[in-house]
Amino acid sequence: MKKIVKFLIALFMIFLLTGCSNNTDTKKASEVRIGILQVPNDVAAARQLKYISSYFDKENIKVKYIIFDSGVDANKALISGDIDFATMGDTNAVVALTSKIDAKLVWVNDVLGNNEGLVVRNGSGIKNFDDLAGQKIATPFASTSHYSLMMTLKKHHLLNKVSLLDMDTQDIVAAWNRGDISAAYTWQPTLTPMLKNGHFLITSEDLRDQNRITANVTLVRGGFERSHPKLVAGLLKQLNKTHAEMQSEPEVTIKAASKQMDLGYSEAKSQIGTSKWLTAKQMVNQRFLSKTFPEQLYITGKFMSQQQTIDHAPSKKEINKFIADKYVSELGDD
């Protein structure tokens, strides 16, 4: 009996020792792990144009990419320390913030436009928002799409009149093809096949015009950011390069992104749609990371906590601490 107790205590101690998380990565980084979304974005372009690999080659660091369907799993990987960077929708960033994941928001990959939207099936009789009442609407929960959908439903007093289905993007296409659903708020590339027999009721571009901004952002794991700020700045510099090129010669950037994602040029172009790739300079000039975007995150957090999806709304102070805008400021001053 005593032996068993001793054994259990020993087991417990081992558990505690291994459970303790270190606050900073001490050893020199030999590999950088980047969580990516499967979309033709700045990371895809910078990857294809070898901006990322040539930078990290110089530093003698290997780069590993890990694909995530949405920020949900990227967040889990950030907690377990399996990735250093992760691109995700800003709603997942709010989840990361309120659940106190050790991570910082350092970059805005793209401000969403018509690459996310609410599609309804042609001939389903849904002509305006009121027709949505009683319908099944699918969306990946916790995503920017989910948030945009909820905002739209709330605006039209439909929150309790529709049934929402939580599905991954591929499942949405399958359910759409089977005819199980006639409406879904989702993002590219899943929108393309659905738009063949469907049309937009509203897009995130419309919401952007109504000052409800959603965006894809990049988070960096806290331990990594504290010990390798130089590498964070270095990676962002490469991404910023694609943002600048997207504005000066978009064909080159879109072509690179399309190649990386195995897409045709026009396909990639329509998937990027009207999303905006702000350069660091523009972010600084528009006070985007220091004012506009924190305000949007605040609104998002408040809305999500009202919907009880997160247990408290993050305060403005928490948000400002979460956004490390020094990297963008440095880049924008160059």
Binding site: M1, I4, V5, L8, I9, F12, F15, L16, G19, C20, S21, V72, N75, K76, I79, V95, A96, S99, K100, I101, A138, F141, A142, S163, L164, L165, D166, M167, D168, D171, A174, A175, R178, D180, I181, Q308, T309, I310, D311
Partner: protein
């Protein structure tokens, strides 16, 4: 052994749980583990109270629980009414056995998640796909138990019954079925266990309620306290279900093991 020995073992079990609980309490109150990985016992209890009071996602906790149980129960009942006759007949008639056995042996070891996406394409995202998934998990254990139950019936019993003039129908219902019953019950218990382990997977796609769904949804918002509540509910329910089945087994097949 004597009753004193038995008592000691029981104490060890209780002590193990106590130590686990104290370890949990200590690890969280000294903040050795981040709360997101391991919420404190108080937090889990208060979350449970909150969930019971306000529900999760606008649906009361007991409704989440009931729908999960309803899915499980309908799948198991469906498996019982189909697998028992098929298993018993397969055990008796070689032709039937040859038709079905290899198919069932083929499906049995496949992890349910492997074919779940196909099930969704076939029967849709509604309740059917969820119940069918659980049904498939529950079917094989009952079927196999029935076959082995029938095979284990002593030939003497059947021969004596036949020599006393029993028809094959009477032999089946009065000799074979009761003799196989203990095996059938073991099969049902295994089946409930198998279906139960699949319950979270079944609620992964396009569900809007259920305890399994609640756990998955909470994981999307990294609410580890809600996940813990769900997991503990599933754990306790699993033990209770098995005890209920054991109790019924003792009542129905009281002669088993004698």
């Amino acid at each position: 052994m004597n009753s004193k020995g038995k008592k000691n073992y029981w104490l060890i079990t209780v002590a193990t749980w106590l130590i686990l609980f104290v370890a949990w309490q200590l690890a969280t109150s000294f903040k050795m583990v981040p709360e997101i990985l391991l919420p404190s016992p108080e937090k889990v209890v208060s979350t449970f109270v909150k969930l019971s009071e306000y529900g999760y996602n606008g649906i009361p906790l007991w409704q989440h629980f009931l729908i999960t149980m309803a899915r499980l129960l309908s799948a198991v009942v469906l498996a019982i009414v189909t697998a028992i006759p098929l298993g018993l007949i397969s055990g008796r008639i070689k032709v039937i056995y040859s038709i079905f056995d290899s198919i069932i042996q083929f499906i049995r070891p496949i992890p349910p998640l492997a074919y779940y996406t196909i099930l969704i394409l076939w029967v849709g995202i509604g309740e059917t796909s969820k119940v069918v998934l659980l049904y498939l998990a529950a079917f094989a254990p009952i079927y196999l138990a029935c076959i082995s139950g029938v095979n284990r019936v002593k030939d003497d019993y059947i021969k004596s019954a036949e020599s006393l003039g029993a028809s094959s129908k009477q032999v089946f219902f009065h000799v074979i079925f009761p003799s196989a019953l203990p095996d059938i019950f073991t099969g049902i218990r295994t089946a409930v266990g198998m279906a139960y382990t699949t319950v979270v997977a079944a609620e992964m796609v396009a569900a809007t309620y259920g305890i399994g769904w609640m756990i998955i949804n909470a994981s999307k918002y990294l609410k580890s306290d809600v996940m813990f509540v769900g997991i503990i509910i599933l754990g306790i329910t699993g033990v209770v279900l098995d005890q209920i089945l054991k109790f019924i087994e003792r009542k129905v097949v009281f002669w088993s093991g004698q």
